[in-house]
């Protein structure tokens, strides 16, 4: 085993790592990160992560055990990424007409940290295969690990746990309902008019008991409202507190009634967008799989 072989391992796995990061760095319809600077920050950190992953195994082979401890340093570094994202998004959130909400921000921040670890992992695996076998196998494993990384990073979406349908908004005096679910009390007739003209009512029906708990999470609801407002716009401004998109639960059967106020009144797209809202990790509970409900002891 000569040094050139090692060098080859570092280069191939470094490239695999960087590719993983680029592959995971795509602006989707939720528009984050939007700007070139956001890309540069994450690419730079991705390159560092890829570098760390690719040198780890060569360092071990050279019996340079202290080099391995640098991975711990990297973990610290990437926790900072999470912090950075959290701080930035929380600040930006204060200026949003429909905020993301703390749970969604935590989710996004966690994903950004996780992506860096995946970058390290794919670099590590690739460098291992190059050293064990040869460059060709390494390249193939690299490509596979880049593709697999997308699989690891794709979480569940809302349409796998709920059914979404349009429902009629109605006013009973000052009370606003979506079908039979009470939403809020609207006093002014001008507000009532604006809501009835621009609002869309939606009802989300959970598919089982676990999804009912997820749907009742306030952060999850805010994430839905934010995503819809990002894509379809929001009929709202400061000084218009009545024009607030909101969601309320029917406590009897766990259905969620939504009032949406999009600028683009496109019901079909709204249903589509709601279906593609990520299920937040903090909102995901699985009581059906808990030991206690299956008669287990712990």
């Amino acid at each position: 085993m000569n040094l050139d072989h090692m060098m080859m391992a570092v280069i191939v796995s470094g490239l695999a790592g960087v590719c993983t990061r680029i592959y995971l760095l795509q602006t989707d319809y939720r528009q984050y990160p939007t700007y070139p600077h956001g890309y540069i920050i994450h690419l730079a950190l991705g390159i560092i992560a890829a570098g760390l992953g690719s040198v780890a195994i060569p360092a071990l082979i050279q019996k340079d055990f202290t080099a391995f401890t640098f991975l711990a340093l990297a973990a610290q570094q990437f926790r900072d990424v999470r912090n950075m994202e959290r701080t930035m998004l929380s600040k930006v959130d204060q200026m949003e007409l429909v905020p993301r909400g703390v749970s969604y921000i935590e989710g996004i921040a966690m994903v950004f940290e996780g992506r860096n670890y995946l970058t390290i992992a794919s670099a590590l695996i690739t460098s291992f295969t190059v050293i064990m076998w040869n460059t060709t196998v390494g390249v193939m494993v690299g490509v596979v690990s880049v593709i697999c990384s997308r699989f690891f990073m794709s979480g569940k979406m809302l349409n796998s746990i709920v059914e979404v349908r349009e429902a009629k908004l109605r006013l009973d005096g000052a009370s606003l309902y979506v079908e039979d679910i009470y939403l809020m009390n609207v006093g002014l007739s001008s507000d009532k008019k604006a809501i009835m003209e621009n609002g869309i009512g939606m009802i989300l029906t959970p598919k089982d008991a676990s999804s009912r708990i997820t749907l009742s999470n306030v952060g999850q609801r805010q994430a839905i409202l934010h995503d819809v407002s990002t894509v379809l716009g929001v009929y709202r401004d400061t000084g218009e507190p009545a024009l607030t998109p909101l969601g309320k639960l029917d406590l009897k059967d766990g259905r969620l009634g939504l009032l949406l106020l999009p600028q683009d009144r496109n019901v079909k797209r709204a249903i589509d967008i709601i279906g593609k809202v990520p299920v937040l990790e903090s909102a995901m509970k699985k009581p059906l799989q808990a030991n206690a409900t299956r008669g287990g002891t712990s």
Partner: protein, 62 residues
């Protein structure tokens, strides 16, 4: 979500309301709507109808 406050009360019947919030007494339904609308914009607080003759302005800071 817990930080909600009544910022003003607009009413047609002064006898039905009292308390620590500013109370605006008006003499017609149109005036009730008009003043509540103005106050909603000024205070950034939502107008709620607690009775046909009484509106309250509440700030929901969520």
């Amino acid at each position: 979500m817990s930080d909600q406050k009544i910022l003003a009360i607009v009413t047609l019947e002064k006898a039905t309301v009292a308390g620590g919030s500013p109370i605006f007494v008006v003499d017609s339904r149109e005036e009730l709507e008009r003043q509540s609308f103005t106050l909603e914009k000024i205070l950034d607080a939502m107008v709620h109808e607690v009775a046909p003759t009484t509106f309250i302005l509440v700030r929901h800071s969520d």
